[in-house]
């Protein structure tokens, strides 16, 4: 406590913190800040590391000292240190007085059944003359039973049916396991008992008995609901890609629903293709002949990747390939019937990642029937800018696309975000918003080209007038021409003119 002497004096005599002089505004964030400030300003009177008797101790990780998981970790750690000394953590004892009272019920005393119980087995000498129903009941209560007396198949199945109606998985699986001796019989009977079947499959999955599970699946009629997918699922356990492919191929003949069968087929086709691409590209990479693999070494194998990732990969490494090859993006698009949008987003991201800006530009270019080029996108230009930015496109590239955003508000927000000053300035100019221009000028660096441009716009009021007149004039001229010539020509010629003047 010595060290705190001066602090304490200070504390008792001063009020360093300005307590709560906030406006009654409803801004949540500022409120949080205030309570944060308040909390920080209340310095602890006592060093909090000093333990106080009645306060529960909490380790940094928040586990109360003395809790079970804390102690497990603690003994584990101490065990590494020394093997002999049982290291008890210093624990504060339970403070509640109730815990000391050893009276009251314990859970098992509530149901005064026998607690002793034997497990199932042939050596079980217990013989009681219980009906299947009673046997199931006794099993549920954890009492000793013998399944020995259910000798005939009929008896065993009767027992199983009673167990199923008890809804206790533990009890259902027991007679099943007893029927285990004759797998063929069991399999046959199970096809009529869906619940028991599911329990059995679950049991086999849990006990990792793959062999028996596959045997069972083969035995069941194909019409068993969910069976094809259950079989398909097996592929996840096959590590070798060639074996996995072959397994998937064998799945193609299973009676999936029409939609599922398309997906399973696509899955097979994709893996087949990935194996080919992986082999070729791995070879090319090791050969060191192709520049792209040297410049951008592959980070991971393409095997078992999703379709879109594969497409991305192909757009990255195989963009210009003709449609005839397996790795051509166009071929993939065709084979898997990808939508224009999906193809577009993926190609855009891949080419932008490579900073192949001409390729990016080309994606948007469409020619109309007169041969004029326009930028078109199945994606909103806002999203395009987003994708490009994520791939760290430079401002020069970004501004081309920001300029294409239709909505002026959105365009300004995006342009500001990406520092496309020209677009911000031009948009304000077109909106004739003098105030905003003034405001924006203040944000620009002194003597920068942007500042000069704004000054020019603001000072040149004559020009401004012309500007405000010239636009409508220009447009109306355009319209007249339009009537006589044709609309696309007019727009593509006149609009750029009117925008630049």
């Amino acid at each position: 406590m010595m060290k705190n002497k001066a602090d304490e004096e200070d504390y008792w005599n001063s009020s360093k913190f300005k307590a709560f002089t906030f406006d009654d505004e409803d801004d949540e964030f500022s409120r949080l800040k205030e309570s944060k400030r308040a909390v920080n300003s209340i310095r602890p009177l006592v060093d909090e590391d000093d333990d106080e008797e009645e306060v529960e101790k909490v380790s940094w990780s928040g586990e109360p000292v003395g809790s079970i998981s804390w102690s497990v970790n603690e003994t584990a750690a101490s065990n590494q240190r020394t093997d002999r000394e049982p290291a008890f953590p210093k624990i504060n004892t339970d403070t509640t007085s109730i815990s000391k009272s050893h009276s009251g019920y314990s859970l098992s005393a509530l149901f005064k059944g026998e607690t002793h119980r034997c497990i199932l087995g042939k050596d079980n000498t217990l013989s009681g003359d219980w009906s299947p129903e009673e046997t199931v009941q006794r099993m549920q209560q954890g009492k000793a039973v013998s399944l020995e007396k259910f000798r005939s198949l009929q008896d065993k199945l009767l027992l199983l049916d009673y167990a199923v109606s008890a809804h206790d998985g533990n009890v259902i699986t027991a007679p099943l396991w007893d029927l285990f001796v004759f797998p063929e019989v069991l399999f046959r009977e199970l096809t009529d008992r869906q619940t028991a079947l599911r329990h059995f499959i679950h049991y086999l999955t849990e006990s990792k008995d793959q062999r028996l599970l596959l045997e069972l699946l083969r035995y069941l009629p194909l019409s068993t609901p969910g069976l094809p997918l259950l079989q398909y699922k097996e592929h996840l356990g096959i590590a070798d890609e060639n074996k996995r492919r072959d397994f998937l191929k064998s799945c193609l003949s299973l009676p999936f629903s029409p939609e599922d069968s398309v997906h399973v087929e696509d899955h097979y086709t994709l893996l087949e293709r990935q194996i080919i691409i992986e082999a070729t590209d791995g070879h090319a990479e090791r050969g060191g002949k192709q520049e792209i693999f040297q410049k951008f070494p592959r980070k991971a194998s393409i095997l078992n990747m999703p379709l879109i990732t594969t497409l991305y990969y192909c757009c990255f490494y195989h963009y210009t390939e003709s449609e005839g090859t397996y790795s051509s993006p166009l071929n993939i698009r065709q084979t898997f019937k990808l939508s224009e949008k999906q193809f577009f987003v993926t190609a855009l991201a891949a080419r932008a990642k490579l900073k192949a800006w001409p390729d990016v530009d080309a994606l948007f270019t469409s020619r109309n029937w007169l041969g004029f080029t326009r930028k078109k996108s199945p994606l909103s230009f806002q999203r395009v800018v987003d994708v490009l930015h994520k791939n760290s496109a430079p401002t020069q590239v970004l501004q081309d696309y920001v300029a294409l955003v239709d909505d002026a508000e959105l365009r300004i927000t995006l342009a500001q975000k990406h520092k496309c000053h020209d677009i911000v300035i031009n948009t304000y100019r077109d909106l004739k918003d003098r105030q905003q221009l003034l405001g924006y000028r203040a944000k620009m660096a002194r003597g920068s080209a942007e500042e000069r441009k704004i000054n020019e716009l603001l000072n040149n009021s004559v020009r401004k007038k012309i500007l405000s007149v010239s636009l409508p004039v220009c447009l109306s001229v355009c319209l007249c021409v339009c009537l006589s010539v044709c609309l696309p020509v007019c727009l593509s010629v006149c609009l750029p003119v009117s925008l630049t003047c």
């Binding site: 209340i42 990780s61 079970i68 102690s71 339970d94 098992s108 954890g142 939609e259 379709l307 990642k353």
Partner: protein, 617 residues
Amino acid sequence: MAAHLSYGRVNLNILREAARKELREFLDKCAGSKAIVWDEYLTGPFGLIAQYSLLKEHEVEKMFTLKSGRLPSADVKNIIFFVRPRLELMDIIAENVFSEDKMHSPRDFHILFVPRRSMLCEQRLKEQGVLASFINIDEYILDLIPYDGDLLSMEYESAFRECYLENDQTSLYHTAKGLMTLQALYGTIPQIYGKGECARHVANMMLRMKREFAGSQNQILPVFDTLLLLDRNVDLLTPLATQLTYEGLIDEIYGITNGYVKLPPEKFAQKKQGEASKDLPTEPKKLQLNSAEELYAEIRDKNFNAVGAALSKKAKIISAAFEERHNAKTVGEIKQFVSQLPHMQAARSSLANHTSIAELIKDITSTVCFWGHLGVCASLVSASEAFFDNLTVEQEFMTGVDTDKVNTYIEDCVAQKDPLIKILRLVSMQSVCNNGLKQKVLDYYKREILQTYGYEHILTLNNLEKAGLLKLQSSSRNNYPTIRKTLKLWMEDANEQNPNDISYVYSGYAPLSVRLTQVLARPGWRSIEEVLKMLPGPHFEERQQLPAGLHKKRQQGENRTTLVFFLGGVSYAEIAALRFLSQMEDSGMEYIIATTKLLNGTTWIKSLMDRPESQSS
């Protein structure tokens, strides 16, 4: 330690005490010094029942986590395995027993199965040839674990999956057992209501078990008036929506397990004057969240938008209390002040913690999300925008806007490779709010998901279809609008600061499950027969005879108590809504909540996925 359990209407500490007594009795069966080998999953739930001190009192000297290989040496007479009945754990135990050093003085082995013995597990041990090594095999019936003064959970993660995908009703059997235990401690519950297939099963089993124990009459005055059993699949919508209460958001963002949350440590570093900035701790900060903490009890169920105000109000009070020291003049006054210090310090650190948590939640706003393709680049769309967009879409769905078309926001999220669970949550929500999707829309979503995340997710999609979360619209018309209107599931003018309706927990959406509960209390389900018929599963009412003399004589104005049991899980926002109903002055009803699992949309969908562990991207 557990005093907060006894503050509520029903003293849940009785249950905890019974569980503790059981544990002591078992430990005393194994005489001499002991070491416990823990199935790690169990340490969390057990922590809610007992502290290490209790075990120590009963000669537990060491504790280990169950691992394959050799047991660490420990000079004890008994080795006790505390495990769930799982086959893979039996294999580990067998390995442990086999590699036991024979030279060492022999140690006795015991197994305690939680919550039930399993014949299959014992069979497995027998096959492995170690069954005979165990002196004692027992079970510890820990079905319902008290989480708070009004909350019980079985923490049976796979209950919903087992019931609806695997058709395995073992969890329902355990539920019925748990309810029998509760009745043994708190008296027979005279009235049982239920809605749903599973509810029906549980009620049937309870009635049957009661007949089987007919010999011993329960002589305890009933604490609960009513039991309401609700299937999760009666209300698939609610858990899918993003919870907007304080506790709900903590769970959505950081995940609460066994009453603890792990938080990024940066905001919790204690700054001390005179100390240069210490290395920031890298380990996550773990905090316990329950009503034992006064401030948390106050704000946990508030809409997050009202938390800031509550915290700053609390800050005012606390700092005013600290200012009191200036007025303390006499020795007596100073003594008085000092005696209050511990309480004030605790309040102060609690306020600091929750201010930090609230900030963290707000901060989700400025972090960035990631682009999933080969490289990882920061996104422009801040998480706050993403969070807001997500909420907007959810609210559109819940109000029935454009639920029959492909949603562009979902499409964009897929294109950005947002986490699959988020996509599944949204698509499921759209499907539920539209009573199924049109073939074209459903096919489109499925294709997009499989192509982007991998074809193996057919299995997951299939699971969601089985559970009814995704479905094809049948020829019958969409009845969700009728349900929404009749039960007033959407309230335009939800008041987040001073709520007057349960819809505040989702900022407009009133959870269907809680509406059903509310209507049952008043005016009764007869008023909504039509809607009940539209929801899946039967609804029913059962009565249990009470022995003469145990009929409660109710005081005028005395509240009734209902135990609401959510079969298949419940979200924190739903709990908040029920607590809100309990506190309403004119409701006349107090609710205790029990469930198979505390969940949120993410953990729920995850439990339904096929091999979710392979889906971490």
